[in-house]
Amino acid sequence: GESVGLHLPTLSVQEGDNSIINCAYSNSASDYFIWYKQESGKGPQFIIDIRSNMDKRQGQRVTVLLNKTVKHLSLQIAATQPGDSAVYFCAENMAAGGFKTIFGAGTRLFVKA
């Protein structure tokens, strides 16, 4: 099957610092992108989304940046807290529904107190 990610990369940050998690997406036709957070023992949870007509969107302590030229997404978390420790996945799709959602490989964020 379509497999996304083996041996997840890990990002370790100090509590209070800002975190930046990066993702390269695969389909240039994708126009809708989502970040998910997965805590231990739980399913992924929606954090924030962005459409391709934007290059930046802000939520509460999170910002998603989209660079369509290089097919790159990033998730910035301000003032990272221990509760932010989780695996973060990006996902891509088309708002018009051209194909199934594709998930990125995932990044494990570890917050040091």
Partner: protein, 115 residues
């Protein structure tokens, strides 16, 4: 219901036995996905249902795996003659519409252990 419900939450089975995993999506959600997640790894796509369309089965790893969705709602993932490499967390997700607009809602998963 309020969220995506999966059952059982944990399943231990002997190698060679068949297992059925159940997913109750959010009422009204037309799209339903099954993913597999091995320990410490990413999401492996298995199968995708969208309304009354033929499911996308391209992610099923072998013919021992099958899934159905009855009445456009509840889905069952069946694994026949289980093998130890089938041990993983099986996640179900549903969304309103086929695109996952506003995101998919995931269940908490079924942790399958084949001994």
């Amino acid at each position: 219901g309020a969220g995506v419900s999966q059952s059982p939450s944990n399943k231990v089975t002997e190698k060679g036995k068949d297992v059925e995993l159940r997913c109750d999506p959010i009422s009204g959600h037309t799209a339903l996905y099954w993913y597999r997640q091995s320990l410490g790894q990413g999401l492996e796509f298995l199968i995708y249902f969208q309304g009354n369309s033929a499911p996308d089965k391209s992610g099923l790893p072998s013919d021992r795996f099958s899934a159905e969705r009855t009445g456009g709602s509840v889905s069952t993932l069946t694994i026949q003659r289980t093998q130890q490499e089938d041990s993983a967390v099986y996640l179900c997700a549903s969304s309103l519409g086929r695109t996952g607009l506003y995101g998919y809602t995931f269940g908490s998963g079924t942790r399958l252990t084949v001994v």
